[in-house]
Amino acid sequence: MSELSAARASSPAAPWRIGVDVGGTFTDMVLADATGLTYSFKVPSAPADPSAGVLRVLRAAADAFGKPVEALLESCGLFVHGSTVATNTMLEGKGATVGLLTTRGFRDSLEIRRGFRENQWDHRRPFPPVLVPRYLRLPVSGRIDRDGCEVEPLVAADVEAALEEFGRERVEAIAIALINSFLNPVHERACAEIIRDVWDGDPDLVSLSSEIMPIMGEYERTSTTVVNACLAPRVVPYLKDLNARLAALGLERPVLLVQSNGGMTSVGRIATRPVRLLLSGPAAGVGALNAYRKAAKTGNLISMEIGGTSCDVMLMERGAVSVRDALTVAGYHVATPSVDIHTIGAGGGAVAGVDDGGMLFVGPRGAGADPGPACYGLGGTEPTVTDAQLVLGRLRPGPYADGSIALDRDLAFAAIERAVADPLGLNVEDAAAGIIRVVEQHLLLAVQRISVERGRDPRAFALVPAGGAGPMHGAAVGRTLGCARVYIPRHSGVFCALGMLYADIRHDLARVFLSTLDDVAPGELEAGFERLEGEARTMLAEEGFDRDAVRLARELDLSYRGQQWVVRVGLGDGAGRDPVDIRERFENEYDRLYGHTQPDGIVEISNQRVVGTGALPRLTIGGTGKATRDPMPLEIRSVFVDPGIGRRDIPVYAGADLRPGHAVEGPLLVEERTTTVLVGASDRLEIDAADNLVVHLPMEAA
């Protein structure tokens, strides 16, 4: 199943599912039919009108199947969309003009940002521009105290005066974030009511912090609410429009969207919460791991998706990917449930060089798409990881990436010689091998951060490299980690689009619950959980899931007294209502994370959470024809295999020639349309029944 493989397909079996991932450069589509056969398509994105990109890729698919677009949509049982439109709105600074109501005395929380600095030594760098200028952050009198009691009434005249100012400044959306509203939202709601009466904007464009994310901490709550308001006028009309256009073309069920938590939701539900879409694209990786679980025969997977500029790492343990409270987008703090993805600047385009003290570096800066690596011949002179792979013989000179670029080995050689080999006194091949070792160590550390640092032993996981550059590094990184297997999806180039077809509907609900564990009133805790569970059931029922199809999981955020960082602890089914049991679960997890506990420490609860999931019927990835004879290599090529072996003549296979049932011993290369797989000297490559590539690594004492 290579890209654009539909040409050989007759007709997919209805009903099918369609996933469309609109990225910055390409719009990817994956169609999975009723028998589990999967087809993928790729077209350039249309940044000015993302829905045009969606329609274009649908048309490309329809043409390939020889059907009208309407026929494609009419038989589509599930249409899932992931989009960077929210992320790009933030990255490009194109959010709406927002007016913010704050409690008098605190109009600057948003701009003070609690003093968070990414790197304090980089003090010359300004903060990213504040999302709401001070003249649009207007105070209202009225105060709720720390027990949630009103100690000063809300002054309606302040709200009215602020609205006048907002009107003059033509704000497009309004955010309300008042002190202690997470305990008592009465003032925020009163503000909203006045706004409804006075303001002529769409009520969906008013964001209340007590509704968007009722957490303790005015800075994070305000920032999240403001980002939501910035996004609403930009993202929601696009989604509604897309939904309408597809419906007009025959799509019966509403479009589903991938949220930052890796689960899906409907366009209607996201309309008031667009802030939950910020990780929409990469979070679909959760679904992709879900898709490969069965074939890979393990729920313990670590994905390493490497593109041109960055590498996204995600860990699935026993079928679950952990979700954290917050993420940062373009320097803005957003507290929404988000898949735990660790991203580093280490892609194929990562620039290598030697600093003025004589130290070799690779990344984090990338050469981008233009000029790109030196070997692209587009004017780039700085050597990159791709240049090193070319010099080492692992990439083939000539047409690359579906023929869109031609790789020039001489340019790569010259760039490495000038910028790395000569300054370090190495020959060019050793310099290229050094670049690969350094970037692979960055990848290794990235995987360790999401595994070892979270108390997970990577040896118990299979590594899933994806993206254009992932499969080249998978075996080497997996070997150093001590993994037994590296599982390389054929569809690694459309990893996220595929993942959309395998995601579940998911809602993360939370409420603040402040108590020490020892003093907790079990009835109150139970009542809180039941309230959240009721909300989750209602939401899922509206999305068509009856009681039996709904899964609910309870969690608590716990910490020792005085600690700022909480540990999220799952309470399991029915159990976990007893403080002793809860403490034990907390200490097990704490010990796993940090290697010690505080036996006499006081445990505090800060939030209770419910995750509601509506599971869609599982698709099975179907295989294609089994192998009938041994594969023949395309050629034997001289390739630098690893620092121990150096250069050797090894076989190079075409991906299309490797079929389920094939098994070949490394070292070898597999060339797919958009990626190349390197299999090491003691490794064995098998094609499994689902037509994916499995690299078995030798097990030895580390």
Binding site: R104, G105, F106, R107, D108, S109, E111, I112, R114, G115, N119, Q120, W121, D122, H123, R124, R125, P126, F127, P133, R134, Y135, D145, R146, I179, N180, F182, M216, G217, E218, Y219, D355, D356, G357, G358, M359, L360, F361, L424, G425, L426, D430, R437, V438, Q441, H442, L445, Q448, E453, Y560, R561, G562, Q563, Q564, L593, Y594, G595, H596, Q598, G601
Partner: protein, 586 residues
């Protein structure tokens, strides 16, 4: 201990790829130590203000890597390990753990910062040390919360720790542990924090020994040396961009914590041959109060000021520190004789030392000049000392405005130079849950930022009501005198102010320094603004308009100081009037 150092491999034998790999692995080990500390320590000070640093030294005490640290700790690490070696050299065993703090006897920077150090031993050879320096919540002494503003000698500041073994060959010395806890008003916090420090250094030792075992001990020695050499080359190359010469400056603190007196810190920075010598000869004698800077802190403040002048990615290790010499005459405010008190020094006079060095560097290279940062005024309020749950609340939310640099206005609320903005402030909602406090205000001041083409930070207007009787330790360095100096024609930021308002309706200024007990009150503070960079007459009129609309610059100041006339609607610049006004000012 491996006293006889093996012959150092020549630089040419170093594999440059192994060097890059090893450096990043060591940095990662250090970062991981810091992460464990942030997440497991019990006192909020570590997750909030990162008032700790994790570092790794080589076997001689040269700093190899440091992560997640408060900048004013930079350069302090080596002194601690040198003190360990002086005391225990030749008798250090695998499984030993040391604790130390004293600035006069144990290579410490100030008494509240305790260092836990563990040797990394592989194949019987000491490779180096994994260490964690962290500010304790309370160490006894004359005031709760480690800052005794009345101290006139070091004994009034808390328990003094020489270098001690807290763990001997893997066995915890419970007697020492109990001694430490017994000397703190907050033994619970200290117990949790020490465990976190022990945990983080243990992880450091595990990771570094793995690296050394994989490399082989001799190769590891060679690579550690090469990492230091690289650091030295980088800083020398940065210093080489400055014109050679001798640049002098002076900076004052205006109080000895008892009386208003001007105390001078004089710095002469000599740049020659890619090397900097910072000479404090001529600085005033040590003072009575607790702001004297220990020698370790003086070194750190100098390293901080110099390295922060250049690129953020410069290595800050024992190698780069070789490119800097510090001359600090004994008996002065930058290198006092015992028993002078000095707990305040990591804020003040570290801030003044940083300013003095920045001013000297500005004379060498005005383009990169850093305008002055408002000095800190954040005190500590504590209470409930007789109750089961004593509390110590830092007024971090009064942090000052920082100074401008070219192309960047000062940050409106940022903190003092010693942190370089590394303090994370609280949400008032969290603080209200934790302390008997209700906050009324934390907002930018108006007309307080040092004017300039790039203006300083505004500083903060802060008000909080404390509902219980409590003790107040005041540290109002940034009060009364303006402290954020301007540069290149930029002007100075406004001074801070602090008042106390009592339930009986009376109000009075807070003392600059001192410790007082009070019933419920309202504390009102204006923190100082930062200095501006370049002439305010060159500031873009649209930026001035934005400041006016934002309410941080008044229309009068826009006209009088910036030469920008804002139209009657308050929304536009009157361009002809502005051009005429600016032309008349030349």
């Amino acid at each position: 201990m491996n006293a006889a150092a093996p012959e150092r491999p020549a630089g040419a034998d170093i594999d440059p790829v192994a060097l890059a790999l090893t450096r990043s692995r060591l940095d990662e080990a250090c970062r991981r130590m810091g992460q464990v500390m942030t997440r497991t320590a019990r006192s909020p000070i570590f997750s909030d203000s990162h008032d700790f640093s994790c570092f790794v030294t080589d076997r001689n005490g040269a700093l190899v890597s440091q992560a997640d640290g408060i900048p004013i700790h930079t350069g302090g690490g080596g002194f601690t390990v040198e003190a360990i070696l002086a005391e225990f050299g030749g008798r250090i065993a695998e499984g030993d753990v040391f604790v130390s703090s004293d600035p006069y006897a144990a290579g410490g920077n100030h008494l509240p910062d305790w260092v836990i150090s563990r040797p990394v031993v592989v194949d019987g050879e000491t490779i180096g040390f994994a260490c964690n320096r962290a500010h304790q919540s309370d160490i006894g002494g004359g005031a709760a919360g480690t800052y005794n503003a009345r101290a006139t000698d070091i004994w009034q500041e808390g328990i003094r720790l020489p270098v001690m073994r807290i763990v001997e060959r893997g066995v915890l010395r419970r007697d020492v542990w109990r001694l430490l806890l017994l000397n703190s008003r907050t033994p619970d916090l200290m117990d949790g924090d020490l465990r976190a420090m022990m945990g983080s250094t243990r992880i450091g030792v595990e990771r570094i020994s793995r690296i050394a075992r994989e490399l082989g001990v001799q190769t590891a020695f060679g690579l550690l040396d090469a990492i230091l050499d690289h650091g030295e080359r980088r800083l020398r190359s940065a210093l080489g961009t400055l014109p050679e010469g001798r640049y002098e400056s002076v900076e004052y603190t205006h109080s000895d914590c008892f009386d208003e007196v001007d105390i001078a810190i004089r710095a002469a920075v000599t740049i020659a041959d890619g090397h900097a010598t910072v000479d404090f000869t001529g600085s005033d004698p040590q003072m009575r109060g607790f702001k004297n800077s220990s020698l370790v802190n003086t070194h750190s403040a100098v390293y901080l000021a110099i390295t922060s002048y250049f690129d953020a990615d410069l290595p800050r290790n024992g190698g780069s520190l070789r490119a800097i010499d510090v001359i600090a005459p004994l008996g002065t405010v930058v290198n006092p004789r015992p028993p002078a008190p000095l707990s305040m020094c990591t804020a003040t006079v570290a801030h003044e030392i940083g300013h003095a060095v920045w001013k000297a560097l500005a004379a060498a290279d005005p383009e990169r000049a850093c305008a002055g940062w408002g000095k800190s005024i954040h005190g500590v309020t504590s209470g409930g000392m007789d109750s089961p749950s004593p509390w110590v609340m830092y007024h971090w939310n009064t942090l000052s405005g920082s100074g401008a640099v070219k192309d960047r206005d000062g940050f409106n609320q940022f903190g003092h130079v010693g942190t370089l903005g590394g303090i994370t402030m609280h949400n008032v909602e969290n603080y209200e849950q934790r302390y008997p406090a209700r906050f009324a205000r934390q907002e930018f001041r108006r007309d307080s930022a040092g004017p300039g083409e790039f203006r300083g930070g505004t500083g903060i207007d802060y008000e909080v009501a404390i509902g219980e009787p409590a003790e107040y330790a005041f540290r109002g360095e940034g009060l009364i005198h303006p402290s954020g100096y301007g540069t290149n024609g930029g002007r100075t930021g406004a001074a801070g102010r602090m008042t106390l308002a009592f339930d009986d309706g009376t109000e009075r200024p807070a003392p600059r320094y001192g410790v007082e007990a009070h019933g419920p009150l309202r504390l009102h503070a204006l923190s100082p603004g930062g200095g501006g960079w370049g002439s305010p007459l060159r500031r873009g009129p649209d930026q001035v308009l934005r400041d006016v609309r934002d309410g941080v610059v008044s229309r009068e100041a826009a006209e009088n100081v910036y030469g920008v006339v804002v139209g009657d609607d308050g929304q536009t610049v009157d361009t002809p009037a502005t051009e005429a006004l600016r032309a008349s000012r030349g």
